[in-house]
Amino acid sequence: MTVSASQNGEVIDLGAREVGALYAKAFLGATEAAGQTEALLAELDSLLDDVLVRLPDLESILASAMVPHEARSRLLDRALAATASPMLLNFLKVLSSRGRLGYLQAIRRAVREQYDVIRGRVRVEVSTATPLEPTLVHHLREQLRRMLAGEPWLAPVVRPELIGGVVLRIGDTVYDGSVSSALERARTQMIERSVHEIQSRRDRFRHPEGN
């Protein structure tokens, strides 16, 4: 089942995530055993960001079911054998033989997530109204290190609509200390209190029995 939705402009595809998680596990298993994870991850990044982004046609050819595995394999050999490490090439060929080359983005995302878990890193999305100053980043990291089980990995996002304060997102949990949501809470509290006040004054003039 494929379901998708945009998240910060990015598509959530549950089917792709499942596939990605599976291949990422296998990929990390192989690279960790060889002790080359960092290097191979950099190669994978470079392949996706430097090559496939510039050559979208190549990506569609690799993902296409119309192109047979042999042809794709030959293409990979010719294009990457000189530069890519043998392990990455093998991995790409495995993906090709299973027809999963279209899931490279999802696989990279899953590899990053799983690698963070292995290295004890926790990804924290930090949203602020203005760009963060380095001293603040340092301070925040220190605070988070004490709070979290692992090493915080900060991903800063600038959202002017927050007005001020900071919003942290760790996994599915959001710690909202922004000015905009504080204002919103103050607003609802004021409305609630006023409604209660109006109602209780109205009740004083009402007959106690019935409406």
Binding site: V3, A5, S6, L14, T173, V174, R193, Q199
Partner: protein, 512 residues
């Protein structure tokens, strides 16, 4: 009146001073898809089953399906304004509704929002919609009567406080009428009533509310409406919400009565949700837990133990059958959960017998324990007698000559059937019922022409009330019919018979 900016400013200033800034911690997810009353959400990894979640437009939802990669949410409200990618917040709370005296006399939706235009429901008390049914030690046997005011029911299938009596029948057989009459009859008894309308036309519900108002029943009744145009999640939740409102009084030692009109529509709404959530369909495409859906609802009706205050929650679930098919899935389920059923038949309805109750297959598993002793005494063999009469009647239709004894039994039967007919919205006091059934079963109507049976009954009851109150009073006070009272009653009936016969010609001239 003039507004003063200074005053307003000072009020706001005070508010701001009192406002304490706290960090808002929430768990979030994102909508993958939404529609038809459900949404699929990515994230919300720590959400609990049945936990309430909040969409950005303020609409609430319930976590219904917890899957490996996503969460299925049922949306309790407008699902059209929910967009793909919206942020969903978990609230850490279960769905609850406002309860207490503030909801009495109101018409509300299944979330407790007022629908009657009488302003907000001001109460701080809330109760979770889903709660556990009381266990064995927390209950006691049903032993007080809940009078419905309908002769046929109170005499033959008595309902006790804390009982669950199913009302089942085809469409247009008077199922709702029984529920409404039972509610109207609770006037002055202190029983709080709740009418849950599920999947009905709004016009029908408006008529019911109007009928309740006209007969003074809205003073102690709450109507919970999830109409046919409301999304399926609301129709599904309505029954539980109504029960929560009723339970509030039960657990405070009070008595409440709830009418679910009807559970077949609730089951259909639940089926819709289950299918949209891709839960595997079972018999008649209902999900596997449809039985649990109804049993956990109806098990909440109980007579509580004295330690818990001795309150009770009586429920009258209604189920609609198709062409009298009681062996369909939902009817058999609900029949097996409830403590008896009142079975209504279209042919009886069209033959003018209203309520169109088939006494042969209608039962109450609580039985005589839920009757006052006087009623138990007079109506003891009534059910069997009527069943025997139906048999004899079928036989007599063959046209053979009947001996005098058989004819007499037939005559008695016809008159009893006539006596058990009752108009809508006129529930009868239980003492009147006792007197009327006593007269019928003891053969005092045998000589009265069939067409005059009703007139005889009406006059007899007013005669007893106005002229023979010394006979009626002991029955009303002790709720018993001892031999001395029975003797006095016999004498009173004999006296009335003379009056009735003597006054007959005069009445006819007046009528002419």
């Amino acid at each position: 009146m003039r507004f003063k900016a200074d005053e307003i400013a000072s009020v706001i200033q005070k508010e701001i001073e009192q406002y304490r800034s706290t960090l808002d911690v929430r768990e979030v997810g994102r909508v993958l898809e939404a529609g038809d009353g459900i949404a699929r959400v990515y994230g919300l990894s720590g959400v609990m089953a049945s936990e309430m979640v909040e969409f950005p437009n303020g609409v609430n939802g319930l976590a219904f399906n917890l899957e490996e990669n996503s969460v299925g949410i049922i949306i309790l409200g407008d699902f059209l304004s929910i967009r793909e990618g919206d942020e969903v917040k978990s609230t850490g709370k279960l769905l609850s509704v406002p309860v207490g005296d503030a909801v009495i006399g109101r018409v509300v939706d299944p979330l407790g929002n007022p629908l009657d235009g009488k302003g907000p429901i001001v109460t701080t008390e809330r109760r979770p919609v889903e709660s556990n049914a009381p266990g064995v030690a927390e209950r006691q046997p049903v032993r007080e009567a809940l009078q419905t005011g309908i002769k046929a029911i109170d005499a033959m299938t008595p309902i006790g406080r804390g009982q669950r009596e199913l009302i089942i029948g085809d469409r247009k057989t008077g199922k709702t009428a029984i529920g409404i009459d039972a509610i109207i009859n609770q006037k002055h008894t202190g029983v709080k009533c709740f009418y849950v309308a599920i999947g009905q036309k709004e016009s029908t519900v408006a008529n019911v509310i109007e009928a309740l108002r006209k007969h003074g029943a809205m003073d102690f009744t709450t109507v919970i409406v999830a109409g046919a145009s409301d999304p399926a999640p609301l129709q599904y939740v309505a029954a539980y919400a109504g029960t929560a409102m009723a339970e509030y009084f039960t657990y405070r030692g009070g008595h409440s009565l709830i009418v679910y009109d009807d559970l077949s529509k609730q089951a259909a709404a639940y089926r819709q949700l289950a299918l949209l959530m891709r839960r595997p369909p079972g018999r008649e495409a209902y999900p596997g837990d449809i039985f649990y859906c109804h049993s956990r609802l109806l098990e909440r009706s109980a007579k509580l133990s004295d330690a818990l205050g001795g309150g009770s929650l009586t429920s009258l679930p209604i189920v609609e059958t198709l062409e009298g098919e009681v062996s369909a899935y939902i009817p058999t389920n609900v029949i097996s959960i409830t403590d008896g059923q009142i079975y209504l038949q279209p042919d009886l309805f069209f033959a003018g017998q209203r309520p169109a109750m088939n006494v042969g297959i209608s039962v109450s598993r609580v039985g005589g324990a839920a009757q006052i002793p006087a009623m138990k005494k007079v109506a003891g063999g009534l059910r069997l007698d009527l069943a025997a009469f139906r048999e004899l009647e079928a036989f007599a239709q063959l046209g053979t000559d009947l001996d005098a004894a058989t004819q007499a039994r037939l005559d008695r039967g016809y008159r009893m059937v006539e006596l058990l007919k009752q108009n809508q919205y006129v529930p009868m006091d239980v003492i009147d019922q006792v007197l009327s059934i006593y007269a019928g079963t003891r053969g005092h109507l045998d000589k009265i022409p069939l067409v005059k049976a009703h007139e005889w009954e009406t006059n007899f009851l007013s005669f007893m009330r106005e002229q023979k109150s010394e006979v009626r009073r002991p029955i009303a006070e002790t709720k018993k019919l001892d031999d001395a009272t029975a003797e006095a009653l016999e004498k009173a009936i004999a006296e009335f018979q003379k009056q009735f016969v003597a006054e007959a010609p005069r009445r006819e001239t007046v009528l002419a």
